[in-house]
């Protein structure tokens, strides 16, 4: 069970003499149940890449396989693929349109051919998973707060019961509390329902805490594909392309330089605290 991207490239404006690549010769495989994060600065190609995964964009070159089948073959149903591989874009305002929250979340399931009853049951379940209170179901989606809108937008995809969930910068514009809320919910989804999560982000702290695999993109290519620890170990390379590691990683590296026998692969405050306490108590 996997989505496989095989040597794909994407060219803007193929008519132009000088080919400008948005994506250049990228290959990767994402298996069910993974929590992958794609990082890169604006224009690195990360948003383009994820659109191949459910056939919203067709690569200029290369193939995309879902469970071994080429998704751009004639008899492959893209509609079915989009049910299995859900994508939530950055702005929830781009998808909310119905008169109330529940109806809006039912839009996807209904398009998949479910009866109104089934669709409603799935919508209710998805909203519950996204921690939306029942009292909001009858409200207009436009009355909700930013964080709530985001959760309803995700529920709108979840209601189709996807196996893969792609989130394009799901925390942009939210305050820290709203951000933590969303990320926690996504982590729970990944754990409890084994839904693979592909999180596109430029926040290193988010990525470090949640993902177990990181893809770093630059200029339309994947330049790193590894565990968070290994990726942040090469923080100097990240800086060269305008990214940075979490703050505590820098603390660890600096301390190491000053002669602390510290583990440099620290990414979270919790880990840093343990390491520093270990060293300081050992000293005394």
């Amino acid at each position: 069970m996997s989505i496989k991207v095989d040597h794909v490239s994407y060219v803007y404006d193929p008519d132009q003499k000088v080919r400008r690549y948005a994506i250049q010769d990228v290959s990767l495989e994402i298996r069910k149940g993974e929590f992958v994060s794609i990082i890169g600065h604006t224009g690195s190609g990360k948003s383009t890449l994820v659109q191949f995964l459910n056939g919203l964009l067709k690569p200029t070159e290369g193939h995309v396989y879902f469970d071994g089948r080429d998704i751009f073959e004639k008899d492959f149903s893209l509609k079915l693929l989009r049910q299995k591989v859900g994508i939530v874009f950055q702005y929830p305002d781009h998808q909310l349109f119905e008169s109330d929250v529940l109806k809006d979340v039912m839009f996807g399931p209904k398009n998949m051919g479910q009866s109104p009853k089934e669709a409603e049951a799935n919508a209710r379940a998805a909203l519950k998973v996204m921690a939306m209170d029942e009292s909001t179901f009858e409200k207009s989606p436009f009355e909700l707060s930013g964080g709530q809108k985001r959760r309803v937008a995700i529920a709108g995809i979840l209601a189709m019961n996807p196996d893969y969930l792609i989130l394009d910068e799901p925390t942009a514009g939210l305050d820290p509390e709203g951000r933590d809320e969303i990320l926690e919910l996504i982590r729970t989804l990944n754990w409890s329902q084994r839904i693979a999560v592909i999180l596109v982000s430029h926040s290193m702290e988010d990525v470090a805490e949640y993902a177990n695999r990181i893809l770093v993109m630059n200029d339309g290519r994947i330049i790193m594909d590894d565990t968070p620890k290994n990726v942040f170990r090469s923080y100097q390379e990240l800086e060269k392309i305008g990214l940075s590691a979490p703050q505590v990683t820098y603390v660890a590296h600096e301390l190491k330089k000053k002669g602390f026998p510290i583990d440099e692969d620290i990414m979270t405050v919790e880990e840093a605290k343990k390491e520093i306490l270990r060293i300081l108590t050992h000293d005394s």
């Binding site: 989009r82 874009f89 305002d93 781009h94 995809i157």
Partner: protein, 266 residues
């Protein structure tokens, strides 16, 4: 689709035509269109075509760029030609079934097509050599006399330039919304007309909501930057006539006079 419409697309080049004041170019378009209705003889159209060819040559815009604008009116050309060919009375040349083709019909159709082509090309010269901003400025200044009738010239010009800025943004937004809905299984092509119209709802509502929000934000931003209507406003680059602009006006008048002469004499 959007790429095919030449109208409203500026072609960057360093030419005399580009340098002309937008008001001159507006006048050129107007006079040129009028001139096409002055005479209906072969020589009139030949003269008009030669004049336009001269202007296009001066503008240094590649000819195929000019012709691209014609693609969008091919259908109109064909329909109006057919109407004229079959419906004009006169000396019958061919007759089959219930239809007949007359000599007069053919001639009228040919003139009609030529006139339409010249008309489109004439206005394309203006839009290809004038930035949308200059065009707006030119219109605002040329029509400023309407202010005496309380016609909101400045406001309309401001609306036009804001539209120019936001059209590309909204086009991109439509694209994004459609993708977001397609990810939820929405189907935008295929199906009957009613089905298609219905499928548009999930695209149109988010587009309206977002446009209203943008409008609201923009109004606030304009107010914060001291916008209070056209009264007392200055311009960074106010339109000012140069010698070549006066000369261009002269050329236009001479052209119109010649056209009238040609229509009367030949």
């Amino acid at each position: 689709m959007i790429r095919d419409i030449t109208l409203g697309q500026y072609y960057e080049a360093d030419s005399l035509i580009h340098k002309l004041d937008p008001r001159v170019k507006l006048a050129f378009t107007l006079i040129y269109i009028i001139s096409l209705y002055v005479g209906h003889s072969f020589y009139c159209y030949l003269f008009a075509a030669l004049f336009l060819a001269g202007v296009i040559a001066l503008s240094r815009v590649p000819v195929h760029f000019m012709l691209r604008g014609l693609r969008s009116i091919v259908v109109i050309l064909v329909i109006s030609a057919l109407f004229n060919i079959f419906l004009v009375d006169g000396e019958v040349l061919v007759r089959f079934w219930k239809l007949r083709i007359t000599k007069e019909g053919l001639v009228t159709a040919a003139y009609m097509v030529v006139r339409l082509i010249l008309l489109i090309l004439g206005s394309t010269v203006m839009t290809l050599t004038t930035t949308p901003n200059d065009l707006t400025d030119g219109l605002e200044k040329s029509l400023s006399f309407l202010k005496i009738f309380r016609f909101p010239v400045h406001d309309l010009a401001m609306m036009m330039s804001i539209a120019l800025r936001f059209i590309p943004i909204l086009v991109e937004e439509v694209n994004k919304i459609m993708k977001a809905q397609m990810a939820r299984g929405a189907d935008f092509d295929g199906g009957s007309l009613i089905k298609k119209a219905k499928a548009m709802v999930p695209m149109l509502i988010p587009l309206f909501v977002s446009s209203f929000r943008r409008a609201n934000d923009l109004a606030l931003a304009m107010e914060a930057r001291c916008y209070h209507g056209g009264e007392g406003r200055t311009k960074m680059y106010p339109l000012k006539y140069q010698t070549h602009d006066y000369l261009a006006y002269l050329v236009l008048l001479v052209y119109l006079a010649c056209m009238i002469l040609v229509s009367k004499v030949l």
